[in-house]
């Protein structure tokens, strides 16, 4: 697989660069730590979207789900006095939004790209609205530190349990997709919904299922942003990550396990940017603005360099209707 090769090349380059990074004051261990944090929301959303696209739907509203579930997740965490409640709340909101988007796509035969964009635009206004309505702070809300989901000490450094969950979920999704009857049907419905329909299976239910699961995973990732990583809520919290997750999906050719690798790649770029921005001795020399561009430039380069024309399920984004 070409994408795997690319990922390996980049990882090897990163490993080779590690000693150099160390010398300029960027310890590779902390880079990996941040990279894994940054990987988590991307991986969750990308894995869910892989399933969704395998079933023939497309959700470009991941960005909006990230922002909405981050906000609502913090609200749940404060109400339930626990970060885990927040994560659950975020996942639930994501599932709900995913379900609505799925229903509009399946029953309303919506243009899924436009519907997803509508969702993004909605959250662009609704999230700042919520921030002020719920906490009377425009732009930023800092919640008590004890609501953060605690990280686990591992040989790789401080790792969030959500990160481990994301890895397990990616492998689980791979297993479901390729080893079970359900996955068999999901792949069939994306390639040929007519076949699924005449076989007496429900096209609508399979697609609603993947839309909802995909939404829930993105929602979990969104709630993780403030509760597992930043420790605060800002209105631009998703910052293009929803679209980077989409890039992971394309990069991975809709394979959840490969999407995990892609998420790690983009996560490392993101983590690198965050690390550079806070490392003394480096941050003074490189303008902050350029550091902030790194994840987007990396995504742009990868999208342009690696992704040729891949084979996607023939019906992605097209509503199914019996004539």
């Amino acid at each position: 697989m070409r994408s795997w090769l690319w990922a390996l090349v980049v990882l090897a380059a990163l490993l080779a660069a590690a000693p150099m990074l160390d010398r300029v004051g960027l310890p590779p261990a902390s880079l990996l730590e941040t990279g894994l944090l940054a990987m988590t929301p991307l991986a969750l959303a990308a894995v869910g979207e892989c399933l969704n696209e395998k079933a023939g739907l497309v959700n470009i509203g991941l960005e909006g789900i990230f922002a909405l579930s981050a906000t609502v997740g913090v609200w749940f965490a404060e109400a339930g006095r626990s970060g885990y409640v927040g994560l659950a709340g975020g996942a639930a909101v994501g599932a709900l939004v995913g379900f609505v988007l799925g229903a509009v796509s399946v029953y309303g035969r919506a243009d899924q790209i436009i519907a997803g964009m509508g969702l993004n635009l909605f959250s662009l206004g609704f999230v700042p609205f919520l921030l002020i309505s719920l906490w009377a702070f425009p732009g930023i809300h800092v919640f008590p530190n004890e609501l953060m989901v605690p990280r686990l000490a591992t040989p790789l450094g401080q790792v969030s349990p959500v990160t481990l969950a994301a890895i397990v979920l990616a492998l689980l999704a791979h297993w479901v997709l390729h080893r079970t009857v359900l996955g068999f049907r999901i792949r069939a419905v994306g390639e040929k919904p007519e076949a699924v329909d005449v076989a007496g299976l429900r096209v609508d239910r399979l697609r609603l299922l993947t839309a909802t699961v995909g939404g829930a995973l993105a929602g979990l990732g969104g709630a993780f942003l403030p509760l597992g990583w930043f420790g605060a809520l800002v209105k631009e919290i998703s910052a293009g990550r929803g679209f980077i997750a989409l890039a992971c999906v394309v990069f991975a050719g809709l394979e959840p396990s490969l999407a995990l690798g892609a998420a790690l790649l983009f996560g490392l770029a993101d983590g690198f940017a965050s690390a550079v921005a806070v490392t003394p001795g480096v941050k003074e020399r490189v303008p902050f603005y350029f550091v902030s561009m790194i994840p987007y430039v990396v995504t742009l380069v990868v999208v342009a360099a690696v992704i040729g024309r891949r084979r996607f399920p023939s019906t992605v984004g097209r509503p199914y209707a019996r004539e």
């Binding site: 792949r187 040929k192 076949a195 329909d197 076989a199």
Partner: protein, 512 residues
């Protein structure tokens, strides 16, 4: 009523589509066990709709369905399958990258959702079924790699695997070679002898006469005739099927063909997946003749036509249009050399369905001097007058010039397209499936126009899967099989039987 209830009975079936189209107006149909019923009718007569109702894919607006005397209502195909009714659709419902076995298994996994796919168990069951019915195909190849005829066997097996005793086949022979058709019919007779019922949807009279026991003729959503096949004649059935339109033949004057307008030498073209679709084909088309190329679809005809018309880059070979080589095979260069193209799929290549008639009238002519004024401005008035003239000359029926062509009937779309191409005053016309899916009147009209072009001394390359069309129109006939032009000869020496064998890959001198 007979003493025992029929296997299936449909009574007073009406179907109105959401867009208001009335497809069925009170159809009755009976099916007995152990009979093959032919459902005969033109395109759009409602045959497929009726059977989609019976197989649970569509719900009737009105009317009842009885199975073994019991009233039933199918909400989806699974319900119909439960009563032993299964349908093989004209457009296959196979998942292309899945293996044949997986396709048979889909929906019949008989395992909980989160368990592995029980492929080994199914392999035995499918194997037994294949033995029983005489269907055979490789189980573990992705179906997209199988020939169409074999895919159809997979499709039939898929339906039978669900314990079907009423098998519905929608135009099953349209993509088959004559040899494959014989195999299929033998298989259907086998089913009949096992006491199962078969419905064969077709518009081909020969098939009805060859394999059915009883024939039901539909026209415009209603049954216009029903009789045992044994006493029926082809002429009588044709009359029922088309109504009052007389069956006609093209009139032409014998004439000697002129100079070649298209010369193709050793042309080799690959398909989208990189496979060889056209293998070193050589032929020519002369002024004042129609060269018809017959063949089962998917034998390289699409790729050949696309290469000749600049839509696909050939790998090697030489193409001369009007005697001069076409160095850059792009559509506009070829057009300037005198090529007109009626593409195989008008909605895909030849028209922009969302554009109105005026805009479609200049599609591919949009750069012509006559239509473009100073600074690249389109000359609206000139274009409108030209479109008006097209609509009149080619009898296009449309509410207005500003209607999107999407809302025109297929026949009117094709008249507009053909008119536009002919107004290019070409020396060579390449037409593929020019009458596919059209009503009788439009079909006749378009065939007339093609013959008229020949009379005017233009060269016509006609590529069609409709053998009757090729036989009716051509001066010379060639057959494509697996990317090769296996034979070209004067129409007089190419009989239907000979072409049929060639289409199936049998060379008469060796084979028969």
């Amino acid at each position: 009523m007979k003493e025992s209830a029929p296997r299936v009975e449909m009574r007073g079936i009406h179907k109105v589509y959401p867009d208001g189209t009335v497809a069925l107006r009170g159809v009755d149909l009976r099916l007995e066990p152990g009979e093959v019923v032919g459902l005969l009718g033109e395109n759009g007569a409602g045959k497929t709709t009726l059977m989609k109702v019976l197989s649970g894919l569509l719900r009737p607006t009105r009317g009842e369905v009885y199975v073994d005397g019991r009233a039933v209502q199918f909400r989806d195909p699974k319900d119909a399958l439960r009563f032993g009714i299964g349908m093989v659709h004209q457009v296959f419902t196979l998942v292309p990258p899945f293996t044949a076995l997986q396709n048979v298994l889909l929906g019949q996994e008989e395992a909980p959702p989160l368990r592995p796919l029980p492929e080994d168990r199914a392999r035995e069951a499918v194997g037994r079924l294949m033995e029983q019915t005489g269907l055979s195909f490789p189980l573990d190849a992705p179906v997209e790699s199988l020939p169409v005829g074999v895919q159809q066997r997979v499709e039939i097996c898929k339906v039978l695997y669900r314990g079907t005793s009423v098998l519905i086949l929608d135009e099953p022979t349209s993509a088959l070679t004559p040899v494959e058709v014989d195999d299929l019919f033998r298989f259907l007779r086998g089913l009949r002898s096992q006491g199962r019922s078969v419905v064969l949807i077709t518009h081909k009279l020969r098939e009805i006469l060859e394999v059915t026991d009883r024939v039901v003729v539909l026209r415009r959503g209603a049954v216009v005739g029903e009789r045992p096949t044994a006493g029926a004649t082809a002429e009588e059935l044709a009359q029922l099927m088309v109504g009052q339109v007389a069956v006609r033949r093209a009139v032409r004057t014998p004439r000697a063909a002129g100079a070649p307008v298209l010369q193709v030498r050793q042309l080799r073209v690959r398909d989208d997946r990189g496979g060889l679709a056209v293998r070193d084909v050589t032929f020519e088309v002369r002024e004042g003749e129609i060269l018809g190329i017959a063949g089962v679809e998917g034998n390289g005809q699409s790729e050949l036509v696309q290469a000749l018309t600049g839509l696909r880059r050939p790998e090697v070979g030489e193409v001369l249009v009007a005697g001069a080589p076409a160095p850059v095979l792009d559509p506009l260069t070829l057009y300037r050399r005198g090529l007109a193209h009626v593409p195989e799929d008008r909605a895909r290549f030849g028209l922009a369905l969302g554009f109105d008639l005026v805009e479609n009238a200049i599609l591919s002519r949009q750069r012509e001097r006559a239509f473009v004024g100073f600074g690249g401005r389109l000359r609206g008035n000139v274009i409108r007058r030209y479109a008006e003239d097209l609509v009149q000359s080619f009898q296009v029926v449309a509410p207005s010039l500003w209607t999107p062509v999407r809302s025109l009937s297929g026949g009117n779309q094709q008249r507009l397209l053909l008119g536009r191409e002919i107004r290019k005053t070409p020396r060579l016309i390449v037409a593929m499936h020019p009458t596919r899916g059209l009503d009788v009147a439009s079909t006749a009209y378009i065939r007339d126009v093609l013959v008229q072009m020949r009379e005017e001394g233009k060269g016509v390359l006609l590529v069609s899967a409709d053998l009757d069309e090729v036989l009716e129109l051509s001066d010379r006939i060639g057959v494509m099989y697996r990317g090769e032009l296996v034979a070209v000869g004067p129409a007089g020496r190419m009989t239907r039987e000979k072409i049929g064998l060639l289409m199936g890959g049998v060379r008469p001198e060796e084979g028969a």
